[in-house]
């Protein structure tokens, strides 16, 4: 018997997370977006997979609820792409949570992602991940201003980010 760091009753924790995701439907439905029980379960599974893949451990309610609430009013989301976009955003979030080496809080990173997704990237997740967040992480690591760009100009459009 090893007294190790193991989550207790993972089934119960997962059920609680699914329930929290489903509760977000109340908020997102005003934008015509919602998830089914199965979709919520799959999203929780993606979060668990990503936590494992990026070597992180989550406490409390986790990040799904915040991602949904932050993004559901985006003009680039519809029922056609809602579920897949959430899966992708979860992956992008954890990737850049590690890549920004803890220099941004969850809220700051999510707000930056949302702002970029809606403005500069115009709904393109490839651009968000491959360009905007890549540049943000590099700037943070090098101690530069977060909106510093390689051509020496400061990017605009991050007024909402504090």
């Amino acid at each position: 018997m090893g007294f190790e760091l193991i989550p207790i009753s993972p089934g119960i924790l997962k059920q609680r997370a699914v329930s929290e995701v489903l509760q977000c439907n109340r908020y997102s439905s005003q934008y015509g977006l919602s998830l089914t029980q199965v979709q919520a379960l799959e999203l929780v599974q993606t979060r668990d997979d990503m936590l494992k893949a990026f070597g992180r451990i989550e406490f409390g309610t986790g990040i799904l609820d915040s991602i949904i609430k932050e993004f559901c009013d985006s003009p680039y989301l519809s029922m056609q792409n809602y579920e897949q976009t959430l899966h992708d955003l979860v992956e992008i979030f954890y990737y850049y949570k590690n890549d920004t080496i803890g220099l941004m809080s969850d809220d700051e990173l999510l707000k930056y992602m949302k702002n970029s997704y809606d403005n500069t990237c115009r709904g393109s997740l490839e651009m968000l991940s491959g360009s905007e967040l890549h540049q943000l992480a590099r700037n943070l690591r090098f101690g530069l201003s977060i909106d510093y760009s390689e051509n020496g100009k400061l990017e605009s459009g991050y007024e909402d980010y504090e």
């Binding site: 018997m1 090893g2 007294f3 760091l5 193991i6 989550p7 207790i8 936590l51 070597g55 992180r56 451990i57 989550e58 406490f59 409390g60 309610t61 986790g62 990040i63 915040s66 954890y94 949570k97 590690n98 803890g102 809080s105 969850d106 809220d107 700051e108």
Partner: protein
């Protein structure tokens, strides 16, 4: 019969791990059926709650997740702290009984105990520094002056209570085993203090001669000093030679070899113990020092028996070269604090005139350590470095030469290389007589200023 002393424990204390006390106690209790699955699960849950609190505290509530490595370190710290409190119970059964209390409360008591250990270790460290043995061994001084001080600066009992931060480079005669974190450091400091106290009973010069007889380059070696001093003192008493001066002649060593070769192991142990008792009587050891040295008797006996059969290292060494090379304890002066230093370097690098730069250096720099740093960090030309070095006395040049001209040049930065080239050029252009004097002085200067 005293209950607290004699009551046997269901858990065999020898199966418990000193550095992972809490988990090993639970493991043994589980194996013996003394805790239920339900209790184990409760404690795991409570540990996870403590971990969640730590994670939140660590990231100020800014992040819902932490890296696994961080979580693992925090958990190790929590379990170490709980273990420190549980060790307060002499009987493991009582410690197990205490675990019926919520872990949060036990953890808080452990934190108080850890704080007490930090204070105790700091006090021992301060006492040690008040009277640290003068020795050329760089590791002795760097460990006790720099590394241990740094440990207290960075030790974080909230998140990394189990860490020792690799600050105990200098090896003790009896290595500390099976402890972690501040428990390890406190035990290490206590042992180091006692070893240092014993060495202070002898003259630093005699210890230098003894250590140099073991190995001329002992100043750079990661080697224990107390061991040779103790074994030589014991050897002197057995051989009837001058113990106070730590002198063993070739004849005395031959005598020891013959005498010990004729003894049984138990007789050697008895002889060593008798010598230790005599040492204690002559020097008036206090209980702590006597206890520590008595505890070394077994290891020392083993070493002596191995030596007498030709299988072990040289426990007894002929003391040679007494005062062959006089050692100069070079005082490089006290360095300025880092803020003042940074300001000075900024000032120097913003001045154009060479004379102004040199005047500023002459006025503000009062130690050789600072001077060498300024000449390296101050963006000076080779001519300016050369001029600054020209103002130094022969002993200072010798000290710098000893330090820098034996360096592996491939490890040097560009600015260090410029400094070394200027120093080399300065020495090279001196008359041969002065070059020889610098060389001799360099050999006599101890390593400690470096």
């Amino acid at each position: 019969m005293s209950d607290s002393l004699q009551r046997s424990s269901k858990i065999d204390i020898s199966t418990l791990n000193g550095s992972n006390y809490f988990s090993s106690l639970l493991e043994q209790a589980y194996i013996k059926g003394l805790v239920s699955d339900f209790e184990i699960e409760r404690m795991q849950n409570e540990c996870l709650m403590l971990l969640a609190d730590k994670a939140t505290m660590h990231n100020s509530g800014d992040s819902s997740s932490i890296l696994e490595e961080e979580a693992s370190e925090f958990m190790a710290s929590i379990m170490f702290t709980i273990g420190v409190w549980l060790k307060a119970f002499q009987n493991p059964d009582d410690a197990l009984g205490a675990l019926m209390e919520p872990l949060k409360s036990i953890y808080q008591k452990g934190q108080t105990k850890v704080s007490e250990l930090v204070i105790s270790a700091k006090q021992i460290h301060e006492k040690l520094l008040l009277d640290l043995l003068e020795t050329n061994n760089v590791h002795y001084r760097s460990t006790f002056i720099d590394e241990i001080s740094e440990f207290f600066d960075i030790y974080d009992q909230s998140f990394f209570a189990h860490e020792i931060h690799d600050c105990t480079e200098y090896p003790l005669f009896n290595p500390i085993g099976d402890l972690a974190g501040i428990e390890y450091i406190q035990a290490y400091m206590q042992a180091a203090y006692l070893e240092n106290s014993f060495c202070l009973l002898f003259s630093p010069d005699d210890i230098h001669t003894l250590m140099a007889s073991h190995d001329k380059g002992y100043g750079q070696l990661l080697t224990n000093i107390f061991g040779p001093v103790l074994s030589t003192a014991v050897g002197c008493l057995i051989a009837g030679t001058n113990m106070e001066k730590l002198e063993l002649s070739k004849q005395a060593i031959e005598y020891l070899q013959t005498k010990i070769a004729r003894m049984e192991g138990s007789q050697v142990f008895e002889t060593v113990n008798k010598a230790i008792l005599e040492l204690s009587t002559r020097f008036g050891f206090n209980d702590e020092l006597f206890g520590y040295i008595k505890a070394c008797a077994f290891v020392l006996t083993e070493q002596i028996i191995l030596w007498s059969t030709g299988a072990g290292n040289s426990v007894f060494v002929e003391t040679v070269g007494k005062s062959e090379t006089p050692t100069l304890f070079f005082n490089a002066g006290e360095k300025m604090d880092s803020v003042e230093y940074t300001k000075l370097v900024d000032e120097i690098s913003n001045i154009d005139s060479t004379m102004e730069k040199l005047n500023l250096i002459n006025t503000k720099v009062h130690s050789l350590g600072d001077l060498q740093d300024v000449l390296i960090d101050g963006w000076l030309t080779s001519e300016e470095i050369h001029l600054a070095l020209s103002n130094l006395g022969m002993l200072e040049i010798a000290a710098l030469t000893k330090k820098w001209l034996n360096e592996d040049f491939s490890d040097l930065s560009d600015s260090e290389m410029l400094f070394v080239e200027s120093l080399h050029s300065l020495v090279f252009h001196l008359p041969e007589e002065q070059q020889n004097a610098i060389k001799l002085a360099g050999e006599a200067i101890g390593e400690e200023w470096q």
